[in-house]
């Protein structure tokens, strides 16, 4: 009972991937994606039946879905971004964006098929197939799209396109993806190239200190700027890309930027001020130079349409840095 290590480790990882984040962090600035739910009638009937290739294979959706249940915070954002918000009847307990989504007590981590069926859905979108979710819902005649944590940027774009096709908003999805690509490219270009090789530490959680390697999705996003991840030295130890780093290594590696993805109270409440007070951390260049960046935890742990905002946050941090 004392150390349910395996199980716990698995759950920790699942929680990381699920975008475990706060319910209160919607304070971010402008967003490129429209949060307003447009009526579904715009979708052309010719788009159905639609066949969509998701992580659980080819899924056929016979008619335009009008009662969608989303068990994934990222997929919820995707749905509203492509204009399918009006077709959504229920979202899981962790979906908190955009404002006004029909939040319920449903869970994507431990889904309850009966509770989902109660909403009489004609399409369910989730990020993992646990507890016989897909086979159970398929028996009920409900198509399921599994849209797991993206491992690449292209994977994230593909999920948005799949959700667009499945809901009759393929064209909007294409333009959302094109807009994201344009904005990300612009922000990366605006930061210039003088900062390449600067080192960073990305904090998923403190005590113990979990980080990400550059092979992870978030690591690849930061890699767009050519920054060097201090956690890469621990790559072998964590095949999943989320190593637990020892504190003395973090301090000795002297990262020039620190990204905090655990600054919301429900994520650990680690603010730049708290980081500066950690014993021994005052000598880290990032702390000395005020380059400890509190990211929007939600955006940093998801792979949805608000990704350009994260890239913009990183671009700003990079631009402030002295060139090496």
């Amino acid at each position: 009972m004392h150390t349910p290590s395996r199980l716990a480790a698995a759950i920790v990882m699942a929680a990381v991937l699920a975008g475990c984040a706060s319910a209160s962090s919607t304070s971010s600035t402008s967003t490129s994606t429209s949060a307003t739910a447009s009526p579904a009638s715009a979708a052309s009937a010719a788009a159905f039946p639609a066949t969509v290739k998701a992580a659980n294979g080819t899924v056929t959706i016979s008619a335009e879905p009008k009662r969608i249940v989303s068990l994934s915070p990222t997929s919820t954002e995707d749905l509203y971004a492509v204009g399918a918000g009006g077709q959504v009847v229920a979202v899981d307990q962790d979906s908190n964006y955009p404002a006004g989504v029909p939040k319920t007590s449903l869970s994507g981590l431990t889904p309850n098929i009966e509770a989902i069926a109660k909403y009489n859905p004609d399409l369910v979108i989730t990020y993992q197939n646990v507890g016989g979710l897909v086979s159970g819902l398929t028996k009920l005649g409900v198509p399921v799209l599994v849209e797991p944590a993206a491992t690449t940027l292209d994977g994230a774009y593909a999920e948005i396109e799949q959700i667009g096709q499945a809901t009759g908003h393929a064209a909007q999805a294409d333009s959302v993806v094109a807009g994201m690509k344009r904005q990300i490219a612009a922000d990366v270009a605006s930061a210039g190239t003088g900062h390449k090789g600067l080192t960073y530490y990305f904090e998923v959680s403190a005590n113990p200190y979990y980080s990400v390697t550059s092979t992870t999705f978030i690591g690849q996003v930061i890699d767009l700027f050519g920054l060097k991840d201090i956690a890469d030295a621990a790559n072998k130890a964590a095949d999943g890309g989320y190593p637990q780093l020892s504190e003395e290594y973090i301090v000795a590696a002297r990262p020039q930027i620190i990204f905090l993805a655990d600054n919301q109270p429900s994520d650990g409440g680690q603010t730049p001020a708290i980081v500066a007070k950690r014993p021994g951390w005052q000598l880290i260049p990032a702390v000395k130079d005020g380059e400890v960046i509190a990211l929007n935890d939600d955006i940093a742990s998801r792979w949805g349409p608000r990704l350009p905002q994260l890239v913009a946050e990183i671009a700003q941090a990079v631009k402030r840095l002295p060139k090496p």
Binding site: H2, V12, S105, S107, E248, Y249, P279
Partner: protein, 343 residues
């Protein structure tokens, strides 16, 4: 040397060696000679130049050394508490997390993360400390109620069973809260796995008073626990109040375990195994088992933490994995090798 003196010397050497090795290795790859020089330089009237850079010094004195000292405290507290419990309950399967102690701490930490997140990270250790003590208090209360109504003479078994029941109840409450707030799963589980990774001198000074008081009380009762081992009636005949002794020792052990848990989370295995190892190697008198458990447990945990933070360096292993993976086979081997010594 007499056998006790030999045992003390062995335990002390083990602890010093463990701390020494731990001070010299780590993910930061500090130069060992420079590290030794920098540490000796801290001794009054010793002046030694060391080639450690300021950041290396920060790593050594602000991160590595407090972690070692905290490991000594936590390992010692868990082991001496486990030994104390095993003594007063005359039960070899009891450990420092019994009687609702671990479950109460887990519930406290979960409540702090879920509902007191706004107060900041400092809420978790305090809530774990309070939860741990409250868990034991509730278990003791439930045990007392059970004993009052039950057949005479099985008070210790009733108290242990009450502890199991209270522990299950508190764990269920914790699971319920977690299930309703899945976004904090990662934080809570990281805590439940146990870790010394956030060690600081501040944590050391925060638990030191509780550690000293509880350890002194437990060590002072070694003779009483020896008397208890012959049975409550016999102890009474010798002029002792078994219930009073048991109450004092349980309270002190609860305080020791709560102090450890507050700064390290739940680290299993140490509290049950170390006293057994000591008993196998040094005899069964608690006047010896208690202080030797303190020393050996401290050394064992420091060693386990050293492995946890170096074997995958710069990545870390959860310390609970190391204590169980390395400790279990060693324990079985010692059980086998020392079968002849009675318990």
């Amino acid at each position: 040397m007499t056998r006790p003196a030999l045992a003390y010397a062995a335990a002390a050497i083990f602890l010093i060696a463990a701390a020494g090795v731990s001070a010299l290795v780590g993910a930061a790859d500090l130069n060992p000679l420079a590290t030794i020089a920098a540490m000796l330089d801290k001794i009054p009237f010793v002046r030694l130049p060391s080639s450690l850079s300021p950041i290396d010094r920060a790593v050594l004195f602000q991160i590595r050394l407090p972690r070692i000292v905290l490991g000594i405290l936590v390992g010692g507290l868990l082991s001496v508490a486990g030994a104390g419990y095993q003594g007063v309950f005359r039960n070899p399967l009891v450990d420092s997390g019994m009687l609702g102690s671990s479950a109460g701490a887990g519930l406290g930490a979960t409540v702090a993360v879920v509902y007191l997140g706004g107060i900041g990270p400092s809420a978790v250790p305090i809530a774990a400390f309070v939860g741990s003590l409250a868990g034991v208090a509730v278990a003791a209360l439930a045990g007392a109620v059970g004993t009052a109504r039950g057949p005479v003479g099985n008070g210790t078994a009733t108290l242990l069973l009450a502890g199991v029941a209270v522990g299950m109840f508190l764990t269920a409450a914790q699971t319920y809260i977690l299930q309703r707030s899945t976004q904090v799963l990662q934080q809570v589980y990281a805590w439940l796995l146990g870790s010394l990774s956030g060690a600081s001198w501040q944590q050391v000074t925060e638990i030191l008073p509780y550690a000293v008081i509880s350890v002194l009380i437990i060590l002072a009762h070694g003779r009483h626990i020896d008397v208890l081992s012959v049975g409550d009636d016999e102890a009474r005949a010798l002029g002792m109040n078994p219930a009073l002794v048991r109450g004092i020792v349980v309270a002190a052990c609860a305080l020791a375990a709560a102090s450890a848990v507050a700064v390290s989370g739940l680290i299993g295995f140490v509290g049950i195994v170390v006293p057994h190892v000591v008993r196998r190697l040094a005899g069964t008198s608690y006047r010896l088992v208690l202080p030797l458990s303190l020393l050996t447990g401290a050394g064992f945990l420091v060693l386990a933490d050293t492995v946890a933070r170096t074997v995958l360096s710069p990545a870390e292993l959860p310390i609970g994995v190391v204590t169980a993976l390395a400790g279990s086979p060693a324990f079985v081997w010692i059980l086998r090798a020392t079968r002849a010594v009675g318990t």
